[in-house]
Every structure is written in C-alpha cells, then in structure tokens.
C-alpha cells in the first residue's frame, strides 16, 4: 500500500485523528435503503409467504395445512439419494473447474499476447447464448451417432461414447457444457480482479528477480482473493442449485441418472405439487446454506486477517 499513498504528502500524521470520524459519517447506513426496500418488498415478503405454503398441500387455488407432511414426502422420494449425490458432484466439479480455468484464462488474457481482444470475446461468447440455445445445440453436437464430436473422434479412429445417453457419463457431459458456458463469467471476474492489482507489486517483484511462476503464486493468487471468493461463492451456489441446463439437455435422464435436487424439485413443481416443491426448496436452501456460509465466513476472515 505504501507505494500508492507515497505521492500524497503527510498521509501518516493525518490519518490518526481522522480514523474514527470517516467510519461514522462517510459510510452512511441509508445507502442500504434503496436496495433494502426492493429486497424487502419483492423478495423477502414473497419468500416468507411461500414458507407457509411449504406446510400445505397447495394447488394454487386452495391450500390445506398438512404440517410437515411435505417434508416427509420429499425425503421419501425414491431418487432423492442419487439426486443429492449428483448435486454435490455437479456443484463441486463445475465450481472447481471454473475457479481454476477462470484464473488461468484470466492471467493468460491479461498478458501480452497476439489476438488478445479476439480471445477475450470468444471466451465470453457462450455466456451470451441463452441456456435453452446452449442446451439444444450441445444435445446435437453430443449426439452419439451423427453428432459433430463423435464424428470428429471417428476421424482419428476413436468410437465416441454416448455423451448424454450413457447413464454413467451424462452428468459429467452436462458439467462440461456448464463449465464451457460459465467459465466466461469467472474469467471476466478474474480479469477485473487482476486489473485491480497495483502494477507496482509486479515491478518490485521483478526487481527482486522473481520469475513468472513466483509472480503468479506470490502476487496474483493472493491478491485476486476477492475475485476468487466471488467466483467460488457464485459458481458453488449456481452449481448446487443448477437445473436449467440439465433440464434442457437430458431432463435428468436417461431415466433419473443425471437428476439433481434442483431438477427433482422442478419436476414436482411442473407436476403441480406446489407445496411439495416449496418444501423441497426449503430443504435445498438449508443444504446450500450449510455448505456456502462456512466457506463464505472462512474467506471473509482470511480477508480481514490480511
């Protein structure tokens, strides 16, 4: 930090007396109000209303109070265990891939290289296409017989698998597409994070003779922590809740083999079991919170320590 403030005269002796004052008046609580009003009226109120309906058998027209029966029903779904397993696999796999690939691409795309502008655009392309479009497109590309992927593999003598039709492979194929579609956002966040690292650090490190590998591990990785926190939280929450891409590509199939909790709930909702699906959402919320909040606290604490 010293390099940054060095050009401002007498910062050191000026800081002490002011340290308390800015905290009170310069960061006013009323900055919360606009967002808070929207959140309260359009999100919090409906959400609490729906909590009640998780305790009812709800047809949208009538709601009959049935206590915790929906939760009992939800936990007795025959495919629930597989759904949970798949959810964790999908969530952690896609999240980890996005963090690693996003960071590497972020570093790569902020370095000096030919065609950088083009490459940056192209990595972000998939984010621009709607999930429905991506789902349909990849369903075609991954077709085991006349899909482009397997036709390309056949050229080099490999018989490609049924990407989406092999029960043991379907979930991983969708995860691959999810990473393909989502890595652009992670990369963008990392690019912004790397851009925020003061250049002076790199120059100082170079003067000290650190090589590129060291600069990456000692400067980039620690200093993009805010970006990492964001990417981890966003992609993990997104991954654990995901169902739209899965729905567009396999509808949880073949059979139930790529079902995640999100798609189980979605199917209940589609079938008109509104109380049951609301209960499912409560369960999913608890599970995701139990995973994400500790991670969030851990990251925040590290940030404060630094």
């Amino acid at each position: 930090m010293t390099t940054l403030v060095a050009n401002r005269p007498s910062a050191d002796d000026a800081v002490e007396p002011r340290k308390r004052r800015p905290i009170k008046s310069s960061y006013p609580t009323w900055f919360y109000i606009p967002a808070g009003v929207f959140y309260l009226v359009l999100f919090a109120v409906p959400t609490f209303a729906s909590l009640y309906f998780s305790l009812t058998r709800w047809t949208l027209f009538e709601a009959e109070f049935i206590g915790l029966d929906n939760f009992v029903q939800f936990f007795s779904e025959p495919m629930l265990l597989r759904g949970f397993t798949n959810t964790f696999i999908f969530g952690f796999l896609t999240s980890a891939s996005k963090v690693v690939l996003g960071l590497l691409l972020g570093v790569f795309l902020t370095s000096q290289l030919a065609a950088r502008g083009y490459l940056r655009s192209v990595v972000f392309f998939p984010v621009l296409v709607s999930t429905i479009g991506v789902g349909i497109t990849f369903k075609m590309l991954m077709d085991p017989f006349d899909g482009v992927i397997n036709e390309a593999l056949a050229l080099v003598g490999i018989t490609g698998p049924g990407w989406l039709t092999d029960p043991s492979l379907a979930l991983f194929s969708i995860a691959l597409v999810d990473v393909w579609k989502g890595v652009g956002i992670a990369t963008l966040i990392y690019i912004a994070g790397i851009a925020a690292i003061p250049q002076e650090y790199y120059e100082a490190a170079r003067v000290d003779g650190a090589n590129a590998w060291h600069r990456f591990w000692r400067i980039t990785v620690p200093l993009v922590r805010p970006a990492t926190t964001t990417v981890v939280l966003l992609s993990l929450i997104g991954g654990l809740r995901a169902f739209d891409l899965i729905w567009a590509m396999t509808r949880g199939g073949p059979g139930f083999t790529s079902d995640v909790i999100g798609s189980v709930i979605y199917k209940q909702y589609q079938a008109g079991f509104f109380g049951l699906s609301t209960a499912g959402n409560v369960v999913l919320f608890v599970v995701v919170t139990a995973i994400v909040v500790p991670i969030s606290i851990w990251f925040n604490r590290r940030e404060v320590e630094r």
Partner: protein, 277 residues
C-alpha cells in the same frame, strides 16, 4: 526481443486455434442450421446447407406473429438497460458500505445477500405482491423484479472489489471535504470501473436472457421479450429447427454487440491503471 515477439505470436496462434475448436464450432452449427430448409435442418447435422436460405429464414422469423421479435427486442432492451442501471447503483452503494463500515449488522446483511442468491424466487406470492402495488403485467414491475433478483449477485461482487480500493483514498477525499455522496460517486465508483463494467455485462446478459421472469411476471402479447420468441418455433410435436436456430442466432447478436463494446472499456480501464507485461 524478436524471439519474445515470436513466442507471443505462436502462443496467440495456438490459442486462436483451440478457441475455434472449443468455442466457435458450436456457433457455426447454429449459423449453418439457421441457413437451412426445414427438412434439412431437422436432420440436425453439421453440414453446409444445399441451399442458403439465410435471408428467407430471417424474413420469416422477423414476420412471425406480427413482427413479435422486433417488439421483443425493444422490450428486452428497455428492461435490460433500466433494471441493470438500477441494480448496479443500488448494489454498489450496499457493497461499499458493507465493506467499509464494520457494524454488528454486517453478518445479517451478509446472510441476506447470500439468501438472495440461494433462495429461488417464490412465483405466486411475488405476483400477489405485484398485484397489491399495482405493478403486475407492467414494464416497471418487471424492471423492479429483475433489479431485485440481480441485487445479491452485484452486492457480492462490489463488496469483494471495494476491498481492493485503499481506504487511504477515502480518507484523502474526506480531508478535501467530500461528503459521503460525493465520496462514493466521485471517488470510489470511478475506481470500481472494471467491476462496474463486469457487473453490467454479466447482469445485462442475465436479464436479456431471462426466460421464466417475463414468462410469469410480464405475461401478455403486448409485452413479449426475446427469450419467449424461441417458443414460437418449438412445440411438443413439431419443431422448425431452421427458424428456431435463426431466432437463437438473432437474439445472440445484441448481447454480443454490447459485449464487444464493453470489452473495449474493460481493456482501456485496465491499460490506464494496471497490468502490463
């Protein structure tokens, strides 16, 4: 120096090759299918169309349901621009105070932000609220909904990136006599430029590509949005793949143009302050 430049070009060329395979082939597939006849497109393979029907399909898609796509573009653009503006400003204010001011309320706010990301919106109760305040089936109502649903994501990003701005800058501005509003809008927000642009890009794409939101909260023929137009060409028993893919192709163009525009902004923001080499 020459070898470094050569190396750079080689790496760049290799990356371009990989990117073509990984990222562009799917788009080529969309484009080619969009140029085919209905029966050729229903084969859904990667081949050149025997007849290029790009223009015919384009005209047919545009004319479908009384130029629905054109109206959808207008609606989606208004929705996207206004709601993203709203959420960026509101979220930046929250993220900024949340990171800067430590108070006992912070953990609560943090949990609420995470809850906003984790809890799926409750559709029917939300409609009841909108009906109560008279905004159901109106564009302002839809704008507020999108702005609200996007808040958490933005707050999370802003909170993370406000921490990269040294507090010393705040203090210097305060010495210069800046009040909280001026401090935020004139000192902090400009420094957040790369994040602001990131948030704008990501959320604009999200809102533009949102399907279920408009489906439930903005029903009616007067207010189509672009994602709903996809359903013109898809039903259980009969799909017109060529027109569907033409539609996908067309509605991908506006976000693409926006991204290319903002991408320059990110780059220029970076060259002014940061990474070189």
């Amino acid at each position: 120096m020459r070898t470094r430049a050569l190396q750079r070009n080689l790496v760049g060329a290799a990356a371009v090759l990989v990117s073509i395979v990984v990222f562009l082939i799917p788009f080529a597939f969309i484009f080619l299918t969009a140029a085919k006849s209905a029966s050729e497109a229903s084969l859904l393979d990667m081949s050149l169309p025997s007849q290029w029907l790009l223009w015919e399909n384009f005209v047919q898609v545009m004319q479908t349901r009384d130029y629905m796509l054109v109206r959808a573009f207008v609606n989606s653009t208004v929705l996207t621009v206004v709601s993203v503006t709203l959420m960026v400003v509101m979220a930046a204010m929250v993220g900024y105070v949340l990171q800067r001011r430590s108070s006992r309320w912070n953990p609560l706010v943090n949990v609420l932000v995470l809850a906003g990301l984790i809890v799926p919106p409750a559709v029917v109760p939300t409609i009841w609220v909108l009906q109560t305040i008279g905004l159901f089936k109106t564009m302002p109502g839809m704008i507020f909904i999108e702005a609200t649903f996007g808040l958490s994501f933005c707050i999370l990003l802003f909170r993370a990136f406000v921490s990269t701005i040294p507090r010393e800058l705040d203090e210097a501005a305060i010495i210069d006599g800046a009040g909280p509003v001026r401090l935020f809008f004139q000192v902090v927000l400009p420094l957040l430029r790369p994040v602001v642009i990131t948030v704008i890009v990501v959320q604009a794409v999200n809102v533009f590509n949102d399907f279920t939101g408009p489906l439930y909260f903005l029903p009616g023929s007067d207010n189509p949005t672009v994602q709903l137009t996809l359903y013109n060409f898809q039903s259980q028993t009969m799909s017109q793949w060529n027109l569907l893919f033409m539609n996908i192709f067309l509605i991908t163009i506006p976000p693409l143009v926006m991204y290319i525009f903002f991408n320059r902004q990110i780059v220029s923001g970076m060259t002014s302050g940061a990474v070189k080499g």
